[in-house]
Symmetry: C2
Subunit: 177 residues, 2 copies
């Protein structure tokens, strides 16, 4: 919705950068809207008008940090592509920063959690489109979400003990097997 | 760990009751530790000592509200028991109060989210033990968590649009094949 390079995009980038910098310097607990505004060179009311409150802003920043910065790697087959993607997803999301970003994302507006899930769905769709181009039979993206992404995310949030790359690979094998 | 009926149990009960009453009367945003302490007839330091902060207390109260108050109903077969349980779980957890309790539970210590998941695992274990007694073949509880509970919880948290009892039943049917 936001015109790239416009004022709105510049405000977003400077406020996000201020949150990341202040969090790294002073820690999460020290963040306040006036502090972030001063660092970003905007007024607090600009932040309140755009994000509503600190929680929504932190949630928005967290979602941006969860955005994948490249398409999934091509390993030559659906099984290999999906296993590699699932392993990497589990590793990133179960590490301490990943878990903190997911929690923050869940604290904001529903659309923030939806954006996280859309990132995963988009990556999976790239993998499935590649499989179709190779002539491989492939499940629906929704099915991959249910059988691979959902179990990983459920365990990351609710039962994190003992998660391993083997678990991610096993979910993919069971789905494709 | 807490002796039932002991002072510790009485403090927990009165503090939890105070949170529920104040939340119903004044709303979530109005809750503060001093207000809750006054209503519960304890000192604020009792609350800080036991729960750490308001978030942890709200998380603990939310988990208690998610505790099932009866074993799953017996419908005579594994498929019927699991489908009925999954439908009810989805209905409760996707309604506004259920979603708020899950979010609160996730905000607290990791053990709080673990307790939520243990409630589901315990209910599923009852259903699976019944199936074993009837001589029915049954999956592992962990498998039911991965293939039925996890997809429902993932969608409740990240993609809540269009959830229906049909979805819960379909997950059970796909698992039991």
């Amino acid at each position: 919705m936001v015109r790239p390079g416009g004022r709105s995009a510049r405000v977003q980038e400077s406020v996000h950068a201020a949150v990341r910098a202040l969090e790294a310097e002073a820690g999460r607990e020290a963040l306040t809207v006036p502090l972030i505004a001063a660092r970003a060179g905007v007024t607090p009311s600009t932040i309140y008008r755009r994000w509503g409150d600190l929680h929504e802003l932190l949630s928005d920043v967290a979602v941006e940090r969860l955005r994948p910065d490249s398409p999934p790697e091509d390993h030559g087959s659906l099984g290999a592509d999906l296993a590699a993607w699932a392993e990497q997803f589990l590793e990133e999301m179960s590490a301490q920063p990943g878990r903190a970003y997911i929690r923050d994302a869940l604290l904001g507006d529903d659309t923030n959690a939806g954006r996280c899930s859309a990132y995963a769905a988009d990556q999976i769709s790239v993998i499935l489109a590649r499989a179709a181009q190779r002539g491989e039979a492939a499940p629906e993206a929704e099915t991959v979400l249910d059988h691979v992404v959902a179990p990983m995310m459920y365990r990351i949030l609710f039962r994190p003990d003992g998660l391993s790359p083997t678990y991610a690979r096993r979910l993919v094998e069971e789905l494709l097997g």
